[in-house]
Amino acid sequence: MELESERIAFLNLGRFPAVFSVEEAGWFFQFHPDAIGWLVAAGHLPALGTVSLADDHKRFARDVLVQLRSDREWMDRATAIVYSHRKTDSKQANDA
């Protein structure tokens, strides 16, 4: 519940910070934070600086995210990447 109120407080900011965390990027697009990691790993979402894929402290430029937010093609592909990850995950869980 605390996370939900943090998310609402973030989306109600009059001005967003120049750099977003993984969690904030997730709130901004409505993706789970794990999905943000998948998008970076797939090379679909550019992170700032040099980050290892296991790095939980990835940062993202606000201006890039603002542009991507209204890009239908980008969002279509991003959502498809997340669907396919979920599918693979549930298949692996069923196989195990």
């Binding site: 989306l11 409505q30 991507l68 239908r72 969002m75 991003a78 498809a80």
Partner: protein, 141 residues
């Protein structure tokens, strides 16, 4: 109004992807209406029930509301927030969407009525047959 709905509609910035429930809140539609305006099958059903000269009054496969990322039937669907914002101000699209939803509901009701009528007729026929058989059995033949 639900507190969650008010909280969502009051957001200064909505998330880039919206869930079906949030689209319903934004467009003032019911779950059934949203299902119709996103489904090619439902839209085609409505279009096929209309004479050709009236089909421009309803949505088409091109103008339907498309979810993001080609989801499977059972998957949770998401929609692009900027597209929903555009549609909110598109009176022509809203008019077609409402009309399509209403016509689909009317078709569904007519189908149910037809089914009930058909079921009633079937029951009546079945009763007649059963009645006839009992009558035959009753005569000891």
């Amino acid at each position: 109004m639900l507190p969650a709905r008010k909280q969502f509609l009051d957001l200064l910035t909505a998330p880039g992807r919206l869930r079906a429930q949030e689209v319903e809140w934004r467009l003032g539609m019911s779950r059934q209406e949203l299902q119709v305006v996103t489904s090619i099958e439902h839209i085609e059903e409505v279009r096929n029930s209309l004479p050709k000269e009236r089909r421009h009054q309803v949505l088409s496969g091109q103008t339907r509301l498309k979810p993001l990322g080609n989801p499977s039937h059972a998957a949770e669907k998401f929609f692009l927030e900027t597209e929903i914002t555009q549609l909110e101000g598109d009176l022509m699209w809203l008019d077609k969407a409402v009309r399509t939803g209403r016509l689909h509901l009317r078709l569904k009701k007519a189908r149910l009525k037809g089914k009930t009528k058909l079921n009633e007729e079937k029951t009546e026929i079945a009763n007649t047959i059963t009645g006839g058989e009992s009558a035959d059995l009753g005569t000891g033949i």
